[in-house]
């Protein structure tokens, strides 16, 4: 199941996020990496160093675009200027798919620059699904939606988060970027069993997986991306890959970023789970 129509029938293996502190190392040492994920918005600019670096990376590596500002759940009209810039970047990177979050972040033209949770209602699911279809039609590449970590729940919700995610992707006929760490964070913040989440989503729609570290506070967990992946998340990842098959996986590390080699080593741990799974499958 690793290659499917949601990841454009690719089998990308283990990637890491392309981050500024690693530019020099990557360009000079040219380490072997399956692929890099870029934050689209960092490169949706008109010129300068970001695009210069990206072009050099593209000469050597496969790149996948991940967005943080599409705000698929917003009730403002889709930002056509944003989409135009995103499509220009899609053509530049030749990304096999584009992902963004199942969230909102702007209202009445004011941007919060955050990934805010949606109430899990049928109306919201229909609204988001319609926007995903519009975005995919415009970009002409598969769109994956990522589950966000959250710290609040709404009285208005009519279903669980995994039911909502399933409802959205089925209505939009879209893929899922399954963030295992986000499921864990939200499960701790909202008292649900994260394995219920993993077990009840449409596994054949998962085109990519995210893993990351988080920070534990007294009363809640924050999705900080500033640590190695913690043990409960690795266990969930192992379970997820059994359900989905070995899937393109990306380690996110966005704050207190250590050396490239340390980030890469951490990411490659995911590969071991996938290799084990392949061995098991071969035996059975």
């Amino acid at each position: 199941m690793p290659a499917n129509r949601f990841n454009n029938f690719t089998n990308y293996g283990i990637g890491i996020g392309l981050r500024v502190p690693h530019y020099q190392h990557i360009l000079s040492q040219k380490p072997t990496v399956d692929w890099f994920e870029i934050i689209s918005e960092n490169f949706m600019v008109d010129g300068g160093r970001p695009l210069h670096v990206l072009d050099q990376i593209l000469e050597q590596y496969r790149v996948v675009q991940h967005g943080v500002a599409m705000y698929l759940g917003s009730t403002d009209g889709l930002n056509r200027d944003h989409l135009r810039k995103l499509k220009r970047l899609v053509k530049r990177t030749n990304t096999p798919w584009v992902s963004d979050h199942l969230c909102w972040g702007s209202v009445d033209g004011r941007y919060t620059h955050d990934l805010l949770p949606l109430p899990y209602t049928f109306a919201a699911a229909g609204h988001v699904a319609q926007r995903i279809r519009e975005v995919r039609d415009y970009l002409e590449v598969p769109v994956l939606v990522e589950n966000v970590s959250s710290y609040a729940e709404f009285h208005a919700s009519e279903m669980t988060e995994w039911e909502f995610l399933s409802e959205v992707v089925e209505k939009a006929d879209a893929g899922i970027l399954l963030d295992v760490n986000n499921i864990y964070v939200s499960s701790q913040n909202h008292n649900f069993n994260p394995y219920d989440y993993l077990n009840h989503i449409p596994h054949d729609r998962v085109g990519q997986i995210h893993i990351a570290g988080h920070s534990k506070f007294e009363k809640y967990i924050l999705d900080t991306h500033d640590h190695p992946v913690l043990d409960p998340v690795w266990k969930m990842y192992a379970h997820a890959t059994r359900l989905t098959g070995p899937t393109a996986t990306l380690l996110e590390w966005d704050d207190r970023i250590p050396s490239f080699d340390e980030v890469h080593r951490e990411a490659l741990k995911a590969g071991k789970f996938c290799e084990e799974l392949v061995r098991e499958t071969a035996v059975t």
């Binding site: 934050i39 210069h52 500002a69 620059h113 704050d255």
Partner: protein, 306 residues
Amino acid sequence: MKQPLPELSPGVKKLRAIQRAFATGTMRPLTADLRMQTKWADGKPARQVVAGFIKPNDRLSSFERLEIYNKQYWFRLLDSLYEDFPGLRTLIGEKRFYDLSVAYLMKYPSNSHTLRDLGDRLEKFLKGEPRWIAPHRELALDIVRLEWAHIVAFDGEALPPLEIDALLDGGDPAKLRLGIQPCITFLACGYPVDDYVLAVRRREEPRGEASNAISERLKKRKTGKKIAQSKSEKIWLAVHRSDNGVYYKRLDPEAYLICTALRKGLPLQAACERAFRRRKMDPEFGATLQKWFTQWASFGWFCRVE
């Protein structure tokens, strides 16, 4: 450039109402001890309003759950302005810069998908509310203009540059119009703010990137030696990009006149005549002019007029 809002179904109207309430709470300024305000925008108790749409759990009240987002909003946006305007921050001090940033974001909340644009109305804000930069109004405005020009130069648009031969072969100078690269800004300043901002930037770390991770707190940074305030001195600057680095190039006043005239769309001859009026007694000025244009073309400043 947004699409007009389509007619919303009742369910989506409810979604919009929830989003407006959530954004109202998220974007309200924090208290002095970095907590969410206990009163809502309309004066009602915030706990009561928030409990109306957010569920509590066994550890956090509805208010405390929204407060996490409220803090993250301010931490993220204040951090971005903190990185983008180190010169202004150094000039007026950290505490005042913090207060100014909050006031600015209240008056001009972000209207762009990227944090890169967050400071695009800061000059306008400070001109309207100069109390934030008193008694350094002119110096502070020069710094803000330069720091915004730096952002534009860093990743702004650059069109294919025109070579010097292409310039000279352009035909009648009375009609020839040269484009200036969109990422270049020309500034006339009352203070040597280039030296000041460079000194500040050398002291600080480079800017970060957008990601979907969240901060645990407002980052505390080390500040080094105090940087001496500039004394009044007229300077003219081109803030430009070369080999993907941003540079502040000082210009003669006549060079500034020519460049700004070209940017306004004046033909080459008319632009140069503005400078000649100031330097008509200088017999070497023709050679100087040629040297300037050769240098500017080598920097890639010129492009075709679109």
